[in-house]
């Protein structure tokens, strides 16, 4: 029977190297998700204002990240911005910047949508109790908005994790790149390595993303009780 290339993973330090690559992927993704979420909440709150200028700037920002592919943003920052400003940024740092900005743009839209979907009566009810602006948001609107944000946020987080596979193209050695290196170096010894290695990477992405879906599901169940 044809060897499925599973055993190549356990050759030498391959297993350990794949995990190190996974750590790079996870690090870029999670730092970006955290920064993106914090910025996104601020952006989302600012988008409930009536100020036309703030809304316009936010609109341009969001559309820019929606329209221009993430890969192009990575190139703009890695090759463009660094040469224009004559600074030196590592691929990891550029990845974190771009993914954070992307996350913030999308998160801002999720927060805005959740806040605006709340019934208007909730605001009036809070005001009628004498809550000030801050208290109204903190005790009444944000807790309800968070419940509505969970599905969109988890979806965004998994998309960000998956899209980190693009960072290979600006020279970051992530889990996919290490997979490629392993396949290339063992081409003669293990001709079917690509199946085993990519299959294993598939499994690694799965073990990062699946718990997120589960957390989201559990939270939704808990709040719907």
């Amino acid at each position: 029977m044809q060897n499925l290339g599973i055993d190549v993973i356990f050759q030498g330090k391959n297993f350990q190297r794949l995990f190190e690559g996974l750590l790079v992927t996870a690090e870029i993704a999670f730092i970006s998700i955290i920064i993106g979420s914090i910025l996104g909440i601020i952006i989302g709150l600012s988008r409930t204002t009536k100020s036309k200028a703030i809304l316009f700037i936010n609109r341009i920002y969001l559309e820019a990240f929606r329209i221009i592919p993430t890969l192009v943003w990575l190139f703009i920052f890695y090759f463009g911005v660094t040469t224009a400003l004559n600074i030196n940024l590592s691929g990891e740092i550029v990845s974190i910047i771009v993914f954070s900005l992307w996350g913030a743009a999308e998160m801002g839209d999720i927060v805005r949508g959740a806040l605006q979907s709340l019934p208007k009566h909730q605001i009036e009810s809070g005001k009628a109790l004498g809550l000030n602006y801050f208290q109204l948001y903190w005790y009444v609107l944000i807790p309800q908005a968070i419940r509505r944000m969970i599905p969109g946020t988890i979806n965004l987080a998994t998309r960000m994790i998956k899209t980190t596979s693009l960072v290979v193209l600006i020279g970051v050695i992530d889990v996919v790149k290490i997979g490629q290196q392993i396949i290339e170096t063992s081409r003669f010894e293990f001709p079917t390595a690509s199946f085993g290695v990519y299959g294993f990477i598939f499994f690694l992405y799965f073990i990062i993303c699946y718990p997120l879906s589960q957390i989201s599901k559990n939270l939704e169940n808990k709040w719907n009780k």
Binding site: L129, G130, Y139
Partner: protein, 249 residues
Amino acid sequence: MDKNNNPVLLEIQDVHKEFDDKEILKGINLSLHTGEVLVVLGPSGCGKSTLLRCLNGLETIQGGDIKFKDMSFTEKKANWQEIHEKIGMVFQNYELFPHMTVIENILLGPLKVQKRNKAEALAQAEQLLDRVGLLDRKDSYPRQLSGGQKQRIAIVRALCMNPEIILFDEVTASLDPEMVREVLEVILGLAKQGMTMVIVTHEMGFAQSVADRIIFMDEGKICEESEPNEFFTNPKTERAKHFLNIFQF
């Protein structure tokens, strides 16, 4: 007992309200005395709910003035927090906060706005809940309650702020008929205790029994102002007669 001799708590002077150039309130004059129960009646769209919303500052007014004691609503530095605290409101759609339990809903205002002592506020909340027969539901979430229960909780929530006036905006309008009574009885109980209230309702029998004075509004104006018995048996204006006829089959 004539409550007209009591001190004036809320003074409404020539109030005008516009939405997009459409005038909803066309000069309302009214004074509310301490302990008085005022019922506002009128056809849909006559401006009665808008008037009520102006009375606790949810809507801004374009002309005239509203004064609660000596606090003017039109002053630039109007103390809205104190006005909201002293003038409670219960809405048609029992807007409890869905992510909080009954007791958390009730205590939010007293603890966060009024910064009261927790034990003391809790004791009052429990006593009020007991009075409306819902003490056993204090840890329930709003979605676990019936409409009538939610509305009674909303009344308790307003009461627990120790307001001097409570505004009721068609509080039974979205309830199933069999739940209307339990809510109206709570309001009737408050009237007996001397709570000052302004009530907008379509329940005519209730209006007649709870009101000290009836205000009949139409097209943004007060058409008629009279004692409840007189209003229901012998309305002065044609419009009021027409309005009352709608309720008789």
